[in-house]
């Protein structure tokens, strides 16, 4: 701002601090709840300071599981989430960088058709075709498998569009210099294009990891065994009981565990995250 008035800054700090408080409050409460015992939490008079049951709660959540409400230890669900989130991110990057390479660097019949076939998928989120997709996965015998969790989510236009956009900014002369240096399509891709794409790949990885980790509807549909659930779908099952019996301290410990990996990714890879977010959407 142009004016230099001290109260201006003070108001700004006040509003922002309020904002940070609102943003942080629910998570703070969850963290506190995960350190108290069941009776304190359910009693409705839980203090806003940490209790002494943190280790016990997290140990039970991860390795033992709750009694009736969450028979499966969260450790397994965390593993499932990691496998499917990484699978989705890596799979998406692999297939979309290859298709973008084909569309940008080659001329062939039906090139534009292929591009449009991919592009239109932007308009078909999984939510509008839930049951037919479920049926395809069931027919392919991929229910309750990692393949079933991962494959239907790795095809989408965003990755292809992002790589296409990046490839367009790579100077033509690099390809020409490579051709004169004797590099064909494979060498050019491996030696030049891939190393130059590292930042784009990382940014896309960060975004897609979060996307994959936070999937809800799809894993909910295609996992029938508790041991194949992801942690995000697992939390809900902890609550679907008559309320008083739900072990809220374990549910909150699970919620904290479910938030930890993607939030850590955002905070520690903020630059890549922002870049990925802005570039996949713009």
């Amino acid at each position: 701002m142009v004016e230099h008035r001290p109260w201006n800054d003070i108001i700004a700090y006040a509003i922002l601090t309020l904002g940070v408080f609102i943003v942080a409050f629910p998570v703070y409460v969850a963290m506190i709840a995960s350190t108290h015992d069941a009776a304190t939490v359910v009693g409705g008079r839980m203090p806003l300071s940490p209790g002494g049951h943190a280790l016990e709660n997290y140990y039970r959540a991860i390795f033992v599981g709750g009694s009736r409400t969450a028979p499966e230890p969260v450790g397994q669900l965390l593993l499932n989430s990691f496998i499917s989130a990484i699978g989705i991110a890596v799979g998406k990057i692999c297939i979309s960088i290859l298709s973008a390479y084909a569309v940008v660097y080659f001329r062939f019949p039906f090139r534009k058709t292929a591009f449009w076939i991919i592009f239109v998928t932007l308009m078909l989120p999984v939510e509008v075709r839930i049951y037919p997709t479920y049926k395809v996965v069931a027919d392919l015998r991929m229910l309750d498998t990692y393949a079933g969790l991962i494959l239907p989510l790795i095809a989408s236009a965003t990755g292809t569009l992002l790589f296409r956009q990046f490839f367009m900014t790579v100077p033509d002369e690099l390809l020409e210099a490579s051709r004169i240096d004797g590099a064909g399509p494979f060498r050019f891709f491996k030696d030049t294009l891939l190393p130059l794409s590292i930042t784009t790949i990382s940014a896309l990885f960060v975004i897609q990891f979060i996307y994959g980790w936070n999937q809800y509807l799809w894993p909910l549909l295609i996992t029938t065994q508790d041991s194949m659930q992801t942690i995000v779908t697992g939390i809900k099952k902890m609550l679907v009981t008559t309320d008083e019996l739900a072990e809220w301290q374990l549910a909150m410990a699970t919620a904290v565990l479910a938030m930890l990996p993607p939030v850590a990714v955002v905070i520690f890879m903020q630059r890549l995250f922002v870049r990925g977010l802005v570039e996949t959407e713009k």
Binding site: P171, E173, L174, E176, A177, R179, A183
Partner: protein
């Protein structure tokens, strides 16, 4: 070591645009050929056709006795220096130079020998571990040169390699390139739009305009005997003064010369060929000018004057003077005053005469 021959080379883009309209010339073994012309004249396209980066619609390109029309760039035994250098940004200087050799499965010890030798010649030895972005413009340019010379190709191709450098560095690198080419004695084709660069580098100069060759020859010949008004105004700075003359004016000016009789034409006089003098020269030309502007650059002075009798109907060509204006270049800093009337005279042997359409030189 090879010569390069172009025979009736043409390029037509889909859509019908004819970029190259039938070009023939030969660059002898070890010669330095410069393609010069205004932007859009097709010189870069032609170079890229020699490199194999653009297809040839018809005609033949022959490198070292082999027709290369259908041969991949990598197999033509050429190396190219790009305008923006096209260095691989993620590779070190060393790897930038070694990449093409590795792709050809050359043994590492030999690659090392060649890269070190090139680095020594180009004074890059201390920078081999750096990435291109850690280098200055001039250093990047030298890496691009290095990448070309380690290959020891039959032909070097340069696509405006100095245009991204500042003026001072451009002159220094120009001299470097010429020295290097002499030393390696490799046939070279060099594209530029800078006529000064063209004049100073070329063994053979090819002046191009809208997809055609206007003139081929050694630079001094072209300067002294431009074949068309286009060449006359493109080569030399400031450009040659061109004045349309009616048939009767030509007859009176060149009385007794049968080749100049009969038709209207264009008279050309280089600014440096004038002398400001009250005396006319027998057989020469004298122009009465009013001084409009003066540029002093130290060693010489440019006088911009208007002819008092304007002659109608000037053919428009790039770089040509506005009708009626004449530039006179005189040594030193002594100049007439603005508004002063002067007489600029030039001897007969320094006059150039062209046909009225500017396409043909009439020898006097």
């Amino acid at each position: 070591m090879a010569n390069v021959v172009l025979r009736d080379v043409r390029k037509t883009y889909t859509g019908g645009f004819e970029a190259i309209k039938g070009i023939d010339f030969e660059v002898g073994d070890g010669q330095f050929c410069v393609l010069v012309g205004p932007s859009g004249c097709g010189k870069s396209t032609l170079l890229r056709m020699v490199a194999g980066l653009e297809t040839i619609t018809s005609g033949d390109i022959d490198i070292g006795g082999r027709i290369v029309n259908q041969i991949e760039p990598a197999d033509r035994d050429i190396a190219m220096v790009f305008q923006n250098y096209a260095l691989y940004p993620h590779m070190t200087v060393y790897n930038n130079m070694a990449y093409g050799l590795r792709n050809r499965r050359m043994p590492e010890p030999e690659i090392d020998t060649r890269v070190q030798e090139a680095a020594r010649i180009l004074e890059l030895s201390t920078m081999l571990d750096r990435k291109p972005r850690q280098l200055s413009g001039g250093q990047r340019q030298r890496v691009a040169m290095g990448r070309a010379i380690v290959r020891q190709p039959k032909v070097f191709l340069f696509d405006e390699p100095l245009s991204n450098l500042d003026a001072k560095l451009r002159i220094a690198m120009r001299v470097e390139i010429r020295k290097l080419q002499r030393r390696l004695n490799t046939t070279s084709i060099y594209v530029t739009h800078d006529q000064l660069e063209a004049m100073t580098l070329a063994d053979i100069l090819v002046v191009m305009n809208s997809g055609r060759v206007e003139q081929i020859g050694n630079p001094l010949d072209i300067y002294q005997k431009p074949a068309t008004t286009f060449v006359a105004s493109f080569i030399g700075a400031p450009p040659m003064n061109l004045m349309p003359l009616r048939a009767d004016e030509i007859r009176s000016q060149f009385a007794g010369d049968s080749r100049a009789a009969g038709e209207s034409g264009i008279l050309g006089i280089r600014p440096e060929d004038f002398v400001i003098s009250a005396e006319t020269i027998a057989g020469g030309i004298a122009l009465d000018l009013t001084v409009e502007a003066i540029e002093r650059v130290g060693a010489e002075t440019f006088v911009y004057g208007t002819r008092q009798h304007e002659i109608q109907g000037v053919a428009a060509n790039p770089g040509e003077l506005p009708p009626g204006e004449v530039i006179v270049r005189i040594p030193g800093a002594v100049a007439p005053a603005i508004g002063e009337r002067i007489k600029a005279v030039a001897p007969r042997e320094n006059l150039h005469l062209f046909s009225a359409d500017g396409r043909q030189r009439i020898e006097l």
